[in-house]
């Protein structure tokens, strides 16, 4: 019992350290006051309120982070410009898409920004479905799948979850996902909502 407790402590410590790695990039980006100030000022000059400009900057940081998680950092020539492009595109497409001069103002935005922004806001629009899916998941599985979604590799997730024996993590991941799928299929309403909203 005591051995198990010690192992959990170790895992928790490891988890904290590892989680910090996933969040470190976001915090670093967000706390770049110079970059944030420049982007927020630009959005405010374009007509956004200060609150909305900050909100968009936060979205831009998360979109940028997703890009990094996908291993596409090599496609980014300048992180500052890329982030600037995301914020600018998000502003014009989410709030000013009907403005007649919106397209003209989007010159110089790096390639790939558009799809990233659409993907992010598409995900945000499915909040209700995601919340229902997340409610189906137990803590243990949630822990492991969340780490996976944050972009940690198998070795890191194994340390976080304590599933360090070869093959155990894969099996556990499989079991978790199967269990969730089973629960989704048991909930006809949720299954219908997923199919109608996500795959139309």
């Amino acid at each position: 019992m005591s051995e198990q407790s010690s192992s959990n402590d170790h895992n928790q410590k490891g988890l904290t350290t590892q989680r910090a790695r996933g969040e470190e990039l976001i915090e670093k980006l967000y706390r770049d006051e110079q970059l944030k100030g420049r982007i927020v000022k630009h959005l405010m000059n374009s007509g956004a309120s200060r609150e909305l400009a900050i909100d968009l900057y936060q979205d831009a940081v998360l979109i940028y982070w997703q890009k990094i998680q996908k291993g596409e950092e090599n496609e980014i020539q300048s992180p500052g410009s890329y982030l600037f492009g995301i914020a600018k595109f998000a502003w014009y497409n989410q709030y000013r898409k009907n403005a007649p001069y919106a397209v003209e103002s989007l010159d110089g935005i790096e390639e790939g920004v558009e799809s990233q922004v659409y993907e992010y806001f598409d995900r945000q629009s499915k909040r209700d479905v995601f919340d229902r899916v997340l409610d189906l998941i137990g803590d243990r599985c949630k822990h492991m799948l969340k780490a996976m979604a944050q972009g940690f590799n198998n070795d890191e997730i194994a340390i976080m979850t304590g599933l360090t024996k070869p093959g155990v993590l894969r099996k556990e991941r499989y079991r978790c996902l199967e269990r969730i799928r089973k629960r989704i299929h048991e909930d006809a309403d949720l299954l219908h909502q997923i199919k109608s909203t996500l795959f139309n």
């Binding site: 979205d59 499915k126 909040r127 995601f130 997340l134 799948l145 969340k146 944050q150």
Partner: protein, 247 residues
């Protein structure tokens, strides 16, 4: 279900373009796998969304902390600025105390009187003495007794001493008191306390007033004196006047 790691990389969008193509082909061919992938994509995206939501909430918290820090800094800066303003006001006060006009220079009265007949432009200083102020007020009020009294009381060190005498002559002319103007001009011509210019002005006025009182011979004598004087500013005028009298 697939336990292959590349399947999870596919869900995370972390496959290379070639791997992505291969998986897309497999999904297109296998409807069961496609359905499974779609459902798993929803689950995966739910976690991505959850993490994004958590991080956004954390960013909002950082923002609040940062705003608080900025406020604190502004609060401190406000006192710095207030202090600077206080120092500036203090410096300005000291500067004013050191450089303020002395009692003698302080403007006490504003007097304005412009003679219209003499043709000589004079300005009346706004910083005037009490005696000169009374002189100007009496002049405007046409109170000759008060004018004479005030004129007698203007100190010869007063910067408007000479101006007042010239103005008095102009006032007499303006009011067509030609005899008085003649006598007064004659008296001023010999007054050593007046400066050269004012005495010249008195000479010129005296000559004009002799003419005004039909004392032409005396007037011509006076005009000749003025015309021959190298000092008088009225020499040219006197020469011209003499020429027209001869005609």
């Amino acid at each position: 279900m697939n336990t292959d790691d590349t399947f999870y990389d596919y869900l995370a969008g972390r496959l290379s373009p070639d791997e992505q193509k291969a998986w897309s082909r497999r999904l297109a061919e296998d409807s069961k796998l496609r359905e499974e992938a779609n459902e798993l994509k929803v689950i995966y995206d739910a976690f991505v969304f959850d993490f994004e939501r958590e991080m956004k909430s954390r960013m909002k918290m950082w923002e609040k902390q940062s705003a608080h820090r900025v406020d604190t800094r502004l609060y401190k800066n406000r006192w710095v600025w207030l202090g600077l303003v206080g120092v500036f006001i203090g410096v300005m006060l000291i500067f004013w105390m050191v450089n303020r006009p002395t009692a003698a220079e302080e403007p006490q009265w504003i007097a304005y009187y412009q003679p219209t007949l003499s043709g000589i432009t004079r300005s009346v200083d706004v910083h005037v003495s009490e005696a000169y102020r009374r002189f100007v007020e009496s002049t405007v009020a046409d109170d000759y007794a008060a004018i004479r009294d005030a004129l007698a009381n203007i100190d010869d060190q007063d910067k408007n001493f000479n101006t007042a005498h010239s103005l008095y002559l102009d006032k007499l002319i303006e009011d067509k008191k030609y005899e008085d103007a003649r006598d007064q001009a004659h008296a001023f011509m010999q007054d050593a306390s007046l400066n050269e210019f004012t005495r010249s002005h008195a000479h010129w006025t005296y000559a004009l007033m002799l003419m005004a009182n039909d004392e032409l011979d005396l007037a011509v004598d006076q005009l000749n004196q003025i015309a021959q004087s190298t000092e008088s500013p009225y020499a040219q005028k006197a020469t011209k006047l003499l020429a027209s009298i001869k005609q």
